[in-house]
C-alpha cells in the first residue's frame, strides 16, 4: 500500500524535510536535524505535523456509558471541554490502543488515536457497540492537526488569536477558536513533556495555521520539528509509545501506567477482570528505566541479562539529547527492577553494564 500524504506534505518538502513512510504516512523524520529540533522544543518551541493521527467521534445518549465500558480510565469526573488520557484494552488486558478523549459534552466525545491503529480501533469500537445508543464516526480524513510545543508555545500562538490562551488549562480544550482566521479546536496537550497546544482544523485549512505559526514563531526560535525528535522528546518525558512500552502483549500495568487504569471504576470495562487478576496476583515483569554505565547506546529489542539469565528487553533506548546520557526503558523481570540494580544490556552481542534508574528521566 502506498503511504498517504497529510495536508502539509508539500510544506514539508519545501522546508527540506527528510520524508519517511511512518505508519502508512509520508512524514518528515527531520528538517534541520533531530538534535536542533529537540532542543528548540525544550528551550523555545517546535511545531509538528500530527495530521496522521486518527479522530473518531462518539455521539449519542449512551456515549458516556459506552466509553466507560470501552476504556480503562474513569470518565465520570470529566467535565465538558476536558481531555483525558486512557487505554482501550482487549479482554485479556493487552492494549488495543492508547488515546486521548476530548469531552465536548455528555453526548459528544472525540477520540484521538494512533495513526497506525485507526482502522483496528474503529473496527474494535464497532464490534463492541452492543446495544448502546450511539453513533461512531471515523472523521480522521476531515481533520488536520498540528502540535505547537515548548516554553514559548503560548506566546507564539497568542499572536494569532484574540482568545486568551492562558484560560485553557492543562488537559482542557476550547472549540471554535479563531487562529489566523481559521476555525480551530485547541487543547493544552502534547507528547513532549513541555507546555504546548494541539490545534485541530479542517484538513483544507490546517496549512494556513501551519504557515502562520511558522511565520510569527520564527523570531522566538520556533522550528518545524520532525518525527525523530517527537520520539526522543516523548521518551525523555516517560510517555509511552504504542508497540513499545505498551502493546497487544504488554498491559498498561506492566508498562507502569496503572494511574490510567481505574480498577475500582464502578462500571465494568473491557479487560477489567484480567487486569484486576494480574494486579492481585502480582506482576511478573515490569517496565523499568536504566542508564548505561559502560559504552554504547541501547536500542529497541536489545536483550537484558542478569548474569547468564535473560530477564527482558529494551522497549526504547537513546542517547538522550537533553540529558546527554545513554538511557532506555526495558521490560524486565519484576524482581530485577529495584533502583540501582546492575544488569547487562547486550549491545551487538556484547554485555554492557547498566543500572536501573527511575524512568522519569526528565525532572522538571
Amino acid at each position: 500500500m502506498v503511504a498517504k500524504k497529510t495536508p502539509l506534505y508539500d510544506e514539508h518538502v519545501k522546508l527540506g524535510g527528510k520524508i519517511v513512510d511512518y505508519a502508512g504516512w509520508f512524514l518528515p523524520v527531520q528538517y534541520e536535524g533531530l538534535v536542533k529540533e529537540h532542543e528548540a522544543v525544550r528551550n523555545e518551541a517546535g511545531m509538528f505535523d500530527v495530521s496522521h493521527m486518527g479522530e473518531i467521534m462518539v455521539k449519542g445518549k449512551d456515549a458516556f456509558r459506552y466509553l466507560q465500558y470501552l476504556l480503562t480510565n474513569d470518565l465520570s469526573k470529566l467535565v465538558d471541554n476536558q481531555v483525558i488520557y486512557t487505554f482501550m484494552c482487549y479482554p485479556d488486558g493487552g492494549v488495543v490502543d492508547d488515546l486521548l478523549v476530548y469531552k465536548y459534552n455528555e453526548e459528544e466525545y472525540l477520540l484521538v488515536v494512533n495513526a497506525a491503529n485507526i482502522d483496528k480501533d474503529f473496527k474494535w469500537m464497532i464490534d463492541n457497540k452492543k446495544n448502546f445508543s450511539i453513533i461512531i464516526e471515523n472523521v480522521s480524513d476531515q481533520i488536520g492537526e498540528v502540535a505547537i510545543q515548548g516554553p514559548k508555545a503560548e506566546k507564539i500562538l497568542q499572536e494569532l488569536t484574540d482568545f486568551d490562551l492562558s484560560s485553557i488549562k492543562f488537559f482542557h480544550l476550547k472549540r471554535d477558536v479563531d487562529i489566523a482566521g481559521i476555525n480551530c479546536m485547541i487543547s493544552r496537550t502534547g507528547y513532549t513533556g513541555e507546555d504546548g497546544f494541539e490545534v485541530y482544523a479542517s484538513s483544507d485549512e490546517i496549512v494556513t495555521v501551519w504557515k502562520k505559526v511558522l511565520e510569527v514563531g520564527k523570531k522566538d526560535g520556533l522550528k518545524p520539528a520532525g518525527l525523530g525528535c517527537r520520539d526522543t522528546l516523548r521518551f525523555e518525558a516517560s510517555l509511552p509509545l504504542y508497540g513499545h512500552e505498551i502493546s497487544r502483549e504488554v498491559t498498561p500495568l506492566e508498562g507502569g501506567f496503572k494511574f490510567f487504569v481505574k480498577l475500582d471504576k464502578e462500571s465494568d470495562f473491557i479487560g477489567k477482570q484480567a487486569l484486576t487478576n494480574q494486579w492481585k496476583n502480582g506482576l511478573t515483569r515490569k517496565l523499568a528505566g536504566f542508564e548505561i554505565i559502560g559504552r554504547g547506546i541501547p536500542r529497541e529489542g536489545y536483550e537484558i541479562y542478569k548474569g547468564d539469565k535473560k530477564i527482558g528487553y529494551v522497549t526504547t533506548g537513546y542517547m538522550s539529547p537533553t540529558l546527554k546520557k545513554n538511557i532506555g526503558n526495558a521490560l524486565i523481570d519484576v524482581n530485577e527492577t529495584e533502583l540501582g540494580n546492575e544488569v547487562d544490556v547486550m549491545i551487538r552481542n556484547k554485555p554492557v553494564k547498566a543500572k536501573i534508574i527511575s524512568k522519569r528521566f526528565l525532572k522538571k
Binding site: 536535524g33 547506546i297 537513546y318
Partner: protein
C-alpha cells in the same frame, strides 16, 4: 554530496584510501549525511582481523545504529581514537576523519570496489 577523488568506494558507502600495503577506511559524505547527528562510534581493536563485508564498527546517530563494513579482507593496524570522544567529527568531514587503518590481505579485492567516478554515478542512480 561530496565524493572525494582517488578513493575506492563500496555499495554500503564506505571509502578506502590505499597507502602502500595499508589502507585508511571511512564513511562517505553521503553516509554521514544520511545518518544525521552522529553521537557514538564503536571501534574494533588493533590486530583484529576481518573478512570483506564483516561489520568492523558501528556508527550511531540519535535515531539509529548502522554497521560499517570491511571493503576488503584485512588486519587493523590503527584506529582513530578521536572519534570515541568526538563522534561528530564524522559529520564535520567524513573523508578527513578516517575510522580505521588496515593491512590489506589481498590487493586483488580492490578491483571489486568502485572508483570515485563510479561511486558518483552510483549515487545518482540509486538515490
Amino acid at each position: 554530496m561530496k565524493v572525494a577523488k582517488d578513493l575506492y568506494y563500496t555499495n554500503d558507502h564506505e571509502w578506502l584510501k590505499v597507502d602502500g600495503d595499508e589502507a585508511y577506511i571511512g564513511l562517505s559524505d553521503f553516509a554521514q549525511d544520511s545518518l544525521g547527528d552522529i553521537v557514538y562510534v564503536e571501534l574494533p581493536e588493533v590486530d583484529d582481523e576481518f573478512d570483506k563485508d564483516d561489520a568492523f564498527s558501528a556508527v550511531e546517530s540519535v535515531k539509529a545504529a548502522s554497521d560499517v563494513f570491511m571493503p576488503v579482507d584485512g588486519k587493523i593496524t590503527e584506529i582513530n581514537e578521536d572519534l570515541l570522544d568526538s563522534p561528530e567529527l564524522l559529520n564535520e568531514d567524513s573523508y578527513e576523519n578516517w575510522i580505521i587503518k588496515i593491512e590489506i590481505s589481498d590487493k586483488s579485492q580492490l578491483d571489486d570496489l568502485m572508483s570515485s567516478d563510479e561511486y558518483e554515478k552510483f549515487l545518482d542512480e540509486e538515490v
